[in-house]
């Protein structure tokens, strides 16, 4: 009787162990996922292939710029989140277009493509070593996704075994405005 019970207990424990292992095994995409590099706004963060520094975040209802002799204004049902940043390829020239806005609820936003002609967008040009580029990452987000977001920066949108900068966006470096003139951002 006791032998039978011991055997039964053994089977149950083994099953529980196997179930726990099955539940907690990281998937292939997690094992080969991005390698996080943490950093705060205002400091220069070195990742594999590039370095990145975010200076401030501007939240705006509308944004405006001038292209081909025309004034263009874009509104949104949410908000425009404009990150002013500096990026540099290191040690070689790279194109980095893997920026994402990860909101507190976990949604991931790619930079808006509604602003094809807007000036100084990072991700559009190649980054050269020794020539830091100051530019903008512009996201379109719902109002409720603006607080406590994290900026993810990598070379491609789905980095595999490559570094991904994870930068919490600090409130003391956030400004809000009604209409943001992109051309005026770099004049002063």
């Amino acid at each position: 009787m006791i032998r039978l019970l011991t055997r039964l207990a053994g089977i149950v424990i083994a099953a529980a162990l196997l179930f726990a292992m099955q539940r907690t095994t990281p998937g292939y995409s997690e094992i080969t996922g991005p390698i996080p590099v943490s950093g705060a706004m205002g400091q220069s963060i070195a990742a594999r292939g590039f370095s990145f520094r975010a200076d401030k975040l501007i939240l705006a209802d509308r944004i405006r710029w001038r292209a081909y002799g025309r004034d263009i204004e874009r509104d949104s049902s949410g908000l425009w989140a404009v990150v002013v940043a500096e990026m540099e390829g290191r040690p070689a020239s790279v194109t980095a277009n893997g920026a994402l806005w990860r909101s507190a609820s976990g949604r991931r936003y790619t930079p808006s493509q509604r602003l094809a002609t807007a000036p100084r967008q990072l991700g559009a040009n190649r980054l050269e070593p020794g020539l830091p580029q100051r530019g903008l990452l512009i996201f379109e987000i719902p109002r409720e996704e603006a607080d406590d977001a994290t900026l993810l920066v990598s070379l491609i949108r789905w980095p595999r075994l490559d570094s991904e900068i994870r930068m919490p966006l600090a409130r003391d470096r956030t400004e809000s405005t009604d209409v943001l003139d992109l051309d005026g951002l770099f004049d002063g």
């Binding site: 292939y28 997690e30 509104d75 049902s77 790619t110 509604r114 379109e140 987000i141 719902p142």
Partner: protein, 202 residues
């Protein structure tokens, strides 16, 4: 002697039966699947214009359909000799990620002869081509198909809506994704021609 052979027979029978159980089960399963597949498909739920439906990644509401040959207020101009079939929709990205795979939602069924298969999507807010839809930001979008000017227009346009379902871990990479497209609803829209009877190319 007799007892021994009976035991042997019983054992043989038992072995064979237990070995065959898997095969029997598989046979039953495939038979049931065949019967289900052969049954007529359930009638699709019918939507009214303006009614919202959750279709996998998207929440859509089809508003109206129009055929025109003229340049439109959205900046779209059909090529010479072609007319444009435009369907206005309200669409919201329900997923957690910005996405541009809105081209697979609608199928025109029954097909309209002469219609070019791949539609263009216009973002009405900007009056430009739609590049991506972001989670939680609803937009009014115009889906435009083109067809030759001479092609006859049916009085009604029937669209079916295809939805994919979410899998937190797929079979290959254990990554989350949207799979198994399935037609979930249909909508019929009256089709009218704008600016009187088609006309010629502008």
């Amino acid at each position: 002697m007799l007892g021994f052979s009976l035991t042997a027979l019983r054992q043989t029978l038992f072995t064979r039966l237990s070995a065959g159980i898997g095969g029997l089960l598989a046979l039953c399963l495939t038979t049931v699947q065949t019967i289900i597949a052969a049954m007529p498909p359930d009638a699709l739920p019918k939507l009214r214009p303006g009614e919202t439906i959750d279709a996998g990644r998207w929440q859509v509401a089809v508003q109206s359909a129009v055929v025109s040959t003229q340049p439109r207020d959205d900046g779209y101009r059909p090529p010479p000799g072609m007319k444009a079939l435009a369907v206005d929709i309200d669409i919201l990205n329900r997923t957690a990620e910005s996405s541009n795979v809105f081209g697979r939602i609608f199928t025109i069924d029954p097909p309209i002869p002469g219609l070019k298969p791949d539609p263009i999507h216009y973002l009405m807010r900007d009056r430009t081509m739609l590049a991506a839809l972001h989670p939680g930001l609803p937009e009014r979008v115009r889906v435009i198909w083109t067809m030759p000017n001479q092609a006859p227009i049916p009085p009604n346009l029937r669209l079916t809506i295809t939805a994919e379902s979410f899998k937190p871990r797929d079979n290959l990479l254990a990554a989350p994704g949207w799979f198994n497209p399935k037609v979930i609803a249909a909508i019929s829209l009256p089709l009218h021609e704008e600016w009187g009877g088609g006309g010629g190319a502008p």
